[in-house]
Amino acid sequence: MSTNLSRVVFSSMLIFFACFFVFPIWSTVKSAFLTQSGSFTLEYVSEVFLNEIYRDGLMNAFSIAFWTTVGCLIVALPLAFCYVRFEFPGKTLLNSLVLIPMILPPFVGAIGVKAMLGQAGAVNSFLAAFGLMDPAHPIDWLGEGQMLGIVIMEVLHLYPILYLNAAAALANIDPALEEAATSFGCNPVRRFWRVTLPLIMPGVFAGGTIVFIWAFTELGVPLVFDYSRVTSVQIFSAIKDLSGNPFPYALVVVMLVLSTLIYGVSKWFFGSSSSGGGGRATTARETVVLPMRTGIACACGFALVTFLAVIPHLGVLFLAVAQDWYGTVFPEALTLTHYRDALGHELTLSSISNSLKYSAAATLVDLVLGVAVAYVVVRTRIKGRQILDAMAMLPLAVPGLVMAFGFLAMTRDGQMFDWLMIGENPVLVLVIAYSVRRLPYVVRSASAGFQQVSPSLEEAAQNLGATPERALWRITLPLVAPNLIAGAMLAFAFAMLEVSDSMILAAQSAHYPITKAIYSLISSLGNGPNIAAALGVWAMMFLAVTFISAALILGKRLGALFRA
């Protein structure tokens, strides 16, 4: 690519980010600090801290995030350790299986959990059947323990992020560092605490930060659990009482500041030292082949975690085929009518086609932008290209809710970008919102591709008479195609199941994407939840196909996409 073209790409990317990443955030921030007459005020933000309901919401969001992170650590660390250090039966398969929850939408899973943990749900029926509970006085798992349900759901969804980060950090440790500790007389347990753990802390913390922020701002799960005493849901409910209300904006700003703070603190603590002990491994690590029994126990551990993680989604599956699931462990009578109904329901067909349209368009945008950004960052020496890189990755750290709100704010009537909202039709806004939020996946996989393809391959083509553009087209693009396909698939799949933007930006049922349709079906009467579950199963099957193909194309490199 010629220098001029790179500059054009670079500046248009900066403009794009300025308009659709910085500006939405800025719009939100502005709305939180300006009164209706346009003067600056701190009243709204301080009100957030003074009002008991909002304060309560923040505290709850914080404890959900905290306990989710702790839960993920407890689940993920031992698994990661076993995976890196030991050889046991079925290791490769189990390593992939344990990542499955990552791709199952927790939002959908929550429907299943609700069905199973309800007062007449599967768990209570199970307990009653074994005489462990008095059927007349069922335990109300969700009544008092909504927060527990949310935490469990999120732990089961998010632990793969920590698992991947911890496993990468463990694998990066130079074995010689541990061998040195042993040679100075350190026993394995002390060695773990004094050498291994400090070395993997940066990686674990990086993963932990993502989990924490994700749980802190999660909207879908608490929404399905009907838990309103948490900030994200408060924000969501507040937009219903119309545009004049500044408090949702103030709440979003507080959330953004806290997330950034958490992100910043963790970067500051573990900043540049993320290499896991500095430098390359000097010796190869030998994985310990576990004796048969321990090995099987280890494999069972993996299997158990996977099983627990898919239980909510099994619940969804049951719910989707249940004619009647009330007061029994398993559904009584099975039926496929919900699937048929799901496909016949006015909301589902339109929502599926909406989601397909929005996501496909967003993926296309992401492909073009992602390739451009990755190329400029990896292959050119333009000043400030690191800024571009950081910007393209930043949407990972900014809560979806914040972005969604920003888009809402900047497309209100009379705002600079109100033309993006065509009448009430949010298609442009949603495509842009999806593409900004999913861009990191494409950028990351495209950059990885460009890094693997030596620049001399392109130089050789130019040397033999190909223009820079032709060299890119004939040589580099075919070679990075697998990465691009995989990145695009991820972007597409995640766009299909996007929650925050879809919930907030799609106002009319004719424009609902799948997620919002599921949400509105859950709360509708009659067999609504069953149809919602059926729609969820369709979505999960679709996701599974996408991910399996991506995994087949990318092989082992798939995991790298989720690492911090």
């Binding site: 030596s454 001399s456 391959l457 130089e459 050789a460 083509a461 130019q462 040397n463 033999l464 008479g465 190909a466 223009t467 820079p468 032709r470 060299a471 004939r474 040589i475 075919p478 070679l479």
Partner: protein, 360 residues
Amino acid sequence: MVSISIRHLTKKFGGQAVLSDVNLEIEKGELFFLLGPSGCGKTTLLRHIAGFYEPDGGAIFFDDEDVTDLPVHRRGTGMMFQSYALWPHLSVAQNVAFGLEERKRPRAEIDQRVNEVLDLVQLGGMGARRIQQLSGGQQQRVALARALVIRPRCLLLDEPLSNLDAKLRMEMRSEIRRICKEFGLTGIYVTHDRDEALSMADRLAIMDGGRLAQVGSPDEIYKNPASRMVAEFIGEANFIEGRVIRESSRPGQYDVDCGFATLRSRPNNDEWRPVQGQAVQLAVRPEAMTFGDVRDSPNRFPGRIISTTYLGATVQYVLQVTDEILMKVCEMNPRDIRVPSRRDDVMGMCSVADLVMLRK
């Protein structure tokens, strides 16, 4: 084929000069080597000729055509990369055909020329293979074929043999030289391997810190190095400090006071007339030194052997002449191997022609 003229070429990377005022004339059909330690600017110079870098100043001419601003794809050079840069998604034949396709040659001509050039590099019949199926040596030949098939205006080789094992490297040296000569190619070859340069080059340039330290034939540079750096880079050498006393009775030979002895030496170039009292450096190759005591030889001095290293074909000794001066001496497969001693019991000798005087 073209002659290449490089005029006042200057390049900085981030304020650091990597090429400073490089001037070089490479003749038509010449196999020219750029030799130097890593970071000396030799690859940078080659990449300027190919067009991958734009110079900060100066110009590059192919014959009379100024190509300085010509983009890479219009220069018509054929480059062989250190990593070969073969495209893994294309077959051998597709790799080789690439340049002809970009030149929009008819398909029949492309196929014919690809087959010819594959035969030339002894890969006939391997066109359908994938790159990954080839050995390192075969990949190397594909890279050569790919550069040759476009009938380049000049051939640029960037350390093409550095990834091969020693035996294959020897074979490819003569192969590449044979092909260059057969087609009368102007070739510029970058390497840090002095044996490669000495054995293959028509002429070579030694580079140091972004400048040309010396340009000449292998023999000229080996025998008359322009500086200590060149002398050391192109081979092993002993250096002795001294001051010029006078021109000796033989014109072009000078007596130099080296403290421990007065030695007779010749300047490293004919135009230089050292003046009396000038501080100079004398250089002599270890294999030009002998042991013995020939009366009328002007350059002989007593010393003791302090170490002996047996290397099979040669034996290397370290001769201690004074407390400070240690000299390396190399004997070809001697009948008796000398052993280290505590007394000054040998005489080191070298001829006047082999003791070269360098400016300090």
